[in-house]
């Protein structure tokens, strides 16, 4: 506009060129994603069979075997983490949405923000010093607590955001009827925001199901099937990390199959979450 000589055709051309570039650049990004999904699917689908999900890995050099240890371990660790994180996260979210101002909620909210940004490997280190070293050994439950700490910010934020959206009249109506505070919250407010909270929980499960770094120093890994939460336990992401870095072809095969299972579980959880959150429009 500073050069009046430039013709409208030139300017429109430039605009179209820009639009084209933006379009191409934006959609190029989907290529690696599709490449990864396609590649994992192609490599993984041939490895999955009944043995794969019911047997434990064979030693180096032997072919066959499965990843039952990692499947069971992941289910145990993630389930335990969810059991720990959900009540804590929801209650903390309730507190923050009920107390929008105030010093405690300010600091608490700040800590949630900080925790969300903490690299997972740092959580792993700290949990090692808090849980593994004092108890004298790697264990599934310490892994669960590490993952639960990582789930907290997501659950708290989604609970807080969901409950903020509910009209105050809902709460006021309950209180006017003489209901005690805790009943208003637990019987009216939380059920009204239930699907929003649940989708936050599912999203947090999807995020931590693929986490490896905090488990390196807590749950460690285990070649054998283990259901004792006080012992080291294998998980899918750790198995993938460990086997992918090994030169053994058979272990690579196990890692491919495990990747497929992990990837599809995580993507499925995300898609379900997306469908349920559409109603709530929560920013996470």
């Amino acid at each position: 506009m500073s050069k009046p000589k430039v013709g409208i055709q030139y300017r429109l051309g430039k605009s179209r060129l820009f639009q084209g570039t933006i379009f191409v650049l934006a959609f190029v990004v989907t290529l690696p994603l599709m490449a990864i999904i396609a590649y994992i699917f192609k490599e993984g689908i041939t490895k999955i069979n009944w043995d794969f999900i019911t047997k434990i890995p064979k030693p180096v050099g032997e072919s066959g075997g499965g990843i039952a240890n990692a499947l069971v371990g992941t289910i145990i660790i993630v389930l335990l983490a969810t059991i720990i994180a959900v009540p804590f996260g929801i209650l903390c979210g309730i507190y923050l949405s009920e107390n929008r101002r105030g010093r405690l909620s300010y600091w608490s909210r700040l800590c949630v923000d900080v925790l969300q940004g903490v690299p997972s490997i740092v959580i792993g280190i700290v949990m090692y010093f808090w849980l593994v070293k004092p108890t004298g050994g790697f264990s599934a439950w310490s892994g669960s607590i590490a993952l639960a700490v990582m789930m907290l910010p997501i659950i708290i934020r989604s609970t807080e955001e969901t409950l903020k959206l509910l009209p105050d009249t809902l709460k006021e109506a309950g209180l006017a009827l003489g209901l005690p505070y805790h009943k208003v919250i637990l019987r009216i407010i939380v059920p009204c925001g239930f699907s929003g909270i649940i989708s936050g929980v599912m999203l947090s499960v999807a995020r931590i199901a693929g986490e490896t770094a905090p488990l390196l120093f807590t749950a460690l890994g285990n070649m054998y099937l283990n259901t004792n939460i006080r012992r080291p336990t294998e998980t899918l992401p750790h198995l993938i990390y460990y086997y992918a870095s090994s030169p053994d072809e058979n272990w690579h095969n196990l890692a491919w199959g495990a990747s497929l299972i992990l990837l599809f579980t995580v993507l499925l959880l995300n898609i379900i979450t997306k469908i349920t959150t559409r109603r709530w429009n929560i920013q996470l």
């Binding site: 300017r11 429109l12 605009s15 820009f18 639009q19 933006i22 379009f23 191409v24 650049l25 934006a26 990004v29 989907t30 490449a35 990864i36 590649y39 994992i40 903390c92 309730i94 923050l96 009920e98 405690l104 600091w107 608490s108 800590c111 949630v112 923000d113 900080v114 925790l115 940004g117 903490v118 690299p119 490997i121 740092v122 792993g124 280190i125 700290v126 010093f129 907290l152 708290i156 005690p180 505070y181 805790h182 999807a206 199901a209 693929g210 490896t212 770094a213 390196l216 120093f217 992401p237 993938i240 990390y241 992918a244 690579h252 990747s259 992990l262 990837l263 995580v266 993507l267 920013q283």
Partner: protein, 464 residues
Amino acid sequence: MGKINTGKYTKHTYGQVRMENVFKRTLVAIAIVMIIIVVGIFLTLIVKSMPSIQSLGLKYLWGKTWDPINNVYGALPFLLGTLLTSFLALIISIPFSFAIAVYLGEYNPRGWLSNFLKNAVELIAAVPSVIYGFWALLVLVPIVQKMENSWNAHKFGEYKKVDTQYNTFSVNDKKLALDTDYFPLSYSGTSTLEGTIIPDNSTLPDSVKQGQMWMLDLKPMLEANKNKPSYNINDAITKIANDDFDKGAGGLILYNTSGIADNLQFNRKDTTTQLVVPVVYVKDDAYKKYFTAATDNSGSLQASVTTVDPYNILPYGIGIFTASLILSIMIIPYAASLGREMIKMVPSPLKEGAYALGATRYEVIRSVILPYTKSGLFAGILLSLGRALGETMAVTMVIGNTSHMPTSLFSPGNTMASVIANEFNEASHDLYWSALVELGLALFLVTVIINMIGKRIIKRFTNE
């Protein structure tokens, strides 16, 4: 109503009030526990890294060597590795995340195509890091390898350096220090040997000498050729080594008791053909310290040696560049989705005003949307950076994991996060451990500060 009813009612109410108080206190307690967790994380990191902070001080940050065996800790290679990978990834990702933000925020906010793109971007953030790493290791690495080969990114021997990670030498279980006590010659083979140390000219029967570690004094050779300037000691050594190997030597130890300078060193530019057996040179001081007992034929010394030519074992394709590539894909969603939100928030009257003045779409984006969303887009980039700095698994799997200073964008390296992932469980003594925790502390502080600045900017932007 009768008395009983009133009594019941009162009792009931007291119970409710008590429950109410318990509930409220629980909420407060949980909010406090949240603070305790985060403060506890911070304090734990500080306390556990105290030994390293106290004994290493600031020189920890710009020390170039990381050698846990000799208790030398310098974090510069990792700081550099983290900065290089993160910023390179950021530079690669910015055009793409900007394009997504503009496309979804301005050009096409609705419709199936933009829905597809939006969901795809969200799924990019959802794929577990370890899967990115695995994919990168088996798909991206060979591609980068081909690229590097065609660009001839490496000159021969660039990575030929002696490395404590791969080279070890111990005599009777006493470890010799690389460089100060011994070094493998640049044409030493890549192999491991455990055996008895036997002098080269020993009169023991061949059956005993087979496959053992032979030892050779360079003294006679050097003295005989003292005045010949054209004499090449390396040629002589390779010849002897090959001869000895034919005779059944499993490895060769060289030493020099003559006092004549032999000028032997690890020459990384050396292009002599590789030998099959390990050939190590033991310096005079170390020889006196570890070997004097072995000059007889008693076989009292057991050697265990591993020499590796890193040039042969470090596969091309892994390194800082590959790590940055995979990282750049992983961090796109953070800047993109925030940028989209920001661009959507630009008030339409502003844009419509510009259109009414006859601006083209490009001009509206450049002169209205960009200036308006500048700080928001910057915050998105900061969040991406925070992600990139702390990302561990994918980077660990493709960066090559060496503790040396990176020499180029294609050289293998280590980031702060990847060195913790690799070495934390193996750390054998307190200082080593606490040096690693100090890396974690630095990582914690940097990512928290970056995230806080980003969030502050977003908050200010959305409040305006």
